[in-house]
């Protein structure tokens, strides 16, 4: 059974390990060229910017390729590994149970706790491989071995915590969507706590991201925080396994109602039904993204004050190519760019849910009605695009509320990133037609993959959408680029629909 869990997860684990290790290696290896473009003082000025500190963590040991890599990619890599760990853990526990496959295994000698243990073991193995890959990547990129090991351990430890969170969520919540949402919320809160921890020291000690940061790889290599991190991981694992005991199969600790009155709203058409299915996830993602922007918006005053006192730093940052990063508008634009990642992943996840419905045969009754495939996928894409605009608009309002930025400017800023998220939506629609096994991965590519590539590999940056995203409200929108991206998204969607029309329905 551990072998089965490994088999169900090893592909994703390999992709994550290669991505995490590769990114670390690339940034470390290109350290000289990247750093060569900046002189020491402007780099330090940039690094001392509170916005940058909150986003990427405190810059330490920037004079070392390893330290620079940890600062530049550490949080992103830890989030990548953690997100994979938590999603895979919920898939192997609650997902297998939802699909009715767990019953077969539990009819044998296996207990529910045993099942949870094995899922945890498989995900943990993947996380450890990713951690080793990060260490190996750093060493291969020319960083010192000790720091590389500490950073790899921090990444793996963070991933282990979220493997436990994912298994726990699988025991607590009664559906896979609910479990993934629960785990994602924990991840979001942990990230937020890390950011707050930059200002309120104790908070940094309760979040895995903060603990990994406090192990200061390449700048002291402290073991204490790593031990606390390990204890946190063991703690979550124990709670998860305790929750698995004495629970009915198919039920979570949170229970569904067995009977309820019908709610017929939005069941009158394919479009209405798509809206009905989209409301819950849209609400969840919007709360997460808007909450993040509300928080970072509240930091703006502090940054402006900081830059007023350090005029020279602002000039230096601008001179280094980071135009207006230190102004309220520049900071806002940078935040909005970050927000396009969850927005794009949200869009891709909606199409991935449609693909999952098809594989689970839920789509079949609908497609046996006079509903064409083009309308089926096209409606989902249209509803998701609308949900995306709602998400970005609410996010803009939240940022304006938190920062005091003009509402119009904030809305223009968040909505400017819509084309990037739409590219993710288009890529997901294309994958739904051409590569239905990998809709979420392909869909996340333009937003999440593009952002990482843009940040980590300067020579390839022009290929990513972020190179063509104007920093609104710090600069006027780049209409030709935005329209081009929307046109590409539409073309991808069209190709996806054509392929979906021609292919067989996939069911398992």
């Amino acid at each position: 059974m551990t072998a089965l869990a490994l088999r169900l997860s090893y592909r994703g684990a390999l992709v994550v390990a290669v991505a995490a290790g590769g990114m670390s290696a690339l940034v470390a290896a290109t350290y000289r060229t990247t750093i060569g473009a900046l002189d020491g003082s402007s780099l330090r000025a940039l690094a001392e910017n509170p916005a940058i500190r909150v986003l990427f963590g405190p810059p330490l040991a920037l004079d070392d390729p390893g330290g620079f890599t940890v600062w530049r990619t550490g949080t992103a890599v830890a989030v990548l590994v953690s997100a994979w760990a938590m999603l895979t853990a919920t898939r192997l526990t609650r997902g297998e149970e939802d699909a009715g496959r767990a019953e077969q295994l539990l009819a044998g000698r296996l207990t529910p706790t045993g099942l949870a243990v094995r899922a945890l073991a498989a995900v943990s193995a993947g996380v450890v491989v990713a951690g080793v890959a990060v260490s190996a990547g750093l060493v291969a990129g020319g960083a010192g071995a000790a720091g590389a090991v500490v950073h790899g351990a921090g990444v793996a430890g963070t991933g282990l915590v979220f493997a436990g969170v994912g298994v726990l969520a699988g025991q607590v919540m009664p559906s896979r969507g609910g479990a993934s949402g629960f785990a994602a919320a924990v991840l979001g809160v942990a990230l937020l706590a890390r950011m707050l921890g930059e200002r309120t020291e104790p908070l940094g000690w309760v979040t895995p991201f903060g603990l990994a940061g406090r192990s200061v790889p390449f700048a002291g290599n402290r073991m204490g925080p790593l031990l606390v991190l390990a204890a946190l991981a063991v703690g979550f694992a124990c709670v998860a396994l305790l929750a698995a005991r004495g629970r009915d199969l198919g039920q979570g600790r949170v229970r569904h109602r067995v009977r309820r009155r019908p709610r017929f709203a939005l069941l009158g058409s394919v479009g209405g039904f798509a809206v009905r299915r989209a409301i819950g996830p849209t609400l969840g993602w919007t709360v997460g993204v808007a909450g993040f922007l509300l928080f970072v918006g509240s930091l703006v005053g502090e940054i402006v004050r900081f830059l007023d006192e350090n005029r020279r730093l602002a000039d230096l940052a601008a001179g280094a190519g980071f135009t207006a990063l230190g102004t309220p508008e520049g900071f806002a634009a940078a935040m909005f760019g970050v927000v396009s990642i969850p927005a794009g992943v949200f869009a891709a996840s909606r199409i991935a849910a449609l693909t999952a419905d098809e594989a689970a045969r839920r789509t079949t009754p609908l497609l046996a009605l006079p509903v064409s495939r083009a309308r089926h996928l096209g409606t989902e894409v249209a509803v998701t695009a609308a949900a995306l605009l709602v998400l970005l608009a609410v996010a803009g309002v939240a940022y304006a509320a938190g920062s005091g930025l003009r509402l119009g400017a904030a809305l223009a800023g968040t909505l400017t990133t819509a084309p990037v998220a739409l590219l993710s939506l288009g890529a997901a629609a294309l994958a739904h037609g051409w590569l239905p096994r990998a809709v979420l991965a392909v869909g996340a590519l333009p937003a999440a993959g593009g952002f990482l590539l843009h940040a980590a590999v300067p020579p390839l940056a022009p290929l990513t959408p972020y190179a063509h995203l104007a920093p609104v409200p710090a600069a006027p929108p780049n209409w030709p680029a935005a329209l081009t991206m929307v046109a590409i998204a539409a073309a991808l969607t069209h190709l996806g629909i054509q392929a979906y029309r021609r292919r067989d329905l996939r069911t398992r």
């Binding site: 009977r259 069941l267 079949t364 046996a368 009605l369 006079p370 292919r503 067989d504």
Partner: protein, 295 residues
Amino acid sequence: MSTPAIRADGLGKRFGRVLAVDGLSLTVEPGEVFGFLGPNGAGKSTTIRMLLGLVRPSAGAALIFGDPAGDVRRAHRHLAYVPADVALWPTLTGAEVLELLAEVGPGTDRGYRNELVRRFELDVNRPARTYSTGNRQKVSLVAAFATRAPLLVLDEPTSGLDPLMEREFRACVTEARDRGQAVFLSSHQLAEVEAVCDRVGILRAGRLVEIAGVAELRRLRQTVVEASFRDDVPSLVDVPGVLAVESLDRNRVRFTLSGPPGPALNALSTADPTAVVMREPSLAEIFLSYYGSGR
């Protein structure tokens, strides 16, 4: 002549190197109940999924009331479908699923639907995640039978139903035929097909091996007889209707019986039988005896 409800011409489907359905041609007339028989894996579901445009044929074509099966916006206005393995959105209640299918579907008789919910004893206020296989099947059956679509395509619709509900199902098929709806019923139960169908097609290893009226099908009906005797087994040579005599041991015998049982029973009673067991052969046994086991 009216347009056939289903017309398939040389329908074929290849999955990689496996030929799932090969050169299938058949016609189902409006108002006809057509049984589609075959063992598991014969290609029944693949054929139905091609008729519904869910799977694209590698060869041939199918028309639903004259509309190409692939043009689902037209073709699906003529039909309602019950899949072999019904999956529903887990958070929707039965009532909500029925509402969605009625609103988007080709037209539903809501009065009749409420009657069907009663007859199938379906609790529609439960979320689909709490439904058993049989209950999910009932939701799909109620939705299909309640439509006014002139063709019902039912893929092994009774596999999860208990005998009482199976009886209700047969009554519904009869009512559908009385309303003039054609029914395409896939099954591996000979008795079910015999009870409700006008004509039967038999599929084996992806090929249609026989299309016959139910009366003709009865010649496929045989009884397997096993008899035990206190002493030796009597001679069954040249007894009318007795086939494939198999001696199990000195005082036990097995044979198949077709036609009236009188002569065979007379022959058995010439000795001193201690037990006689008669049972219907499984479809697989019929296939084996009629068509051999090979491909």
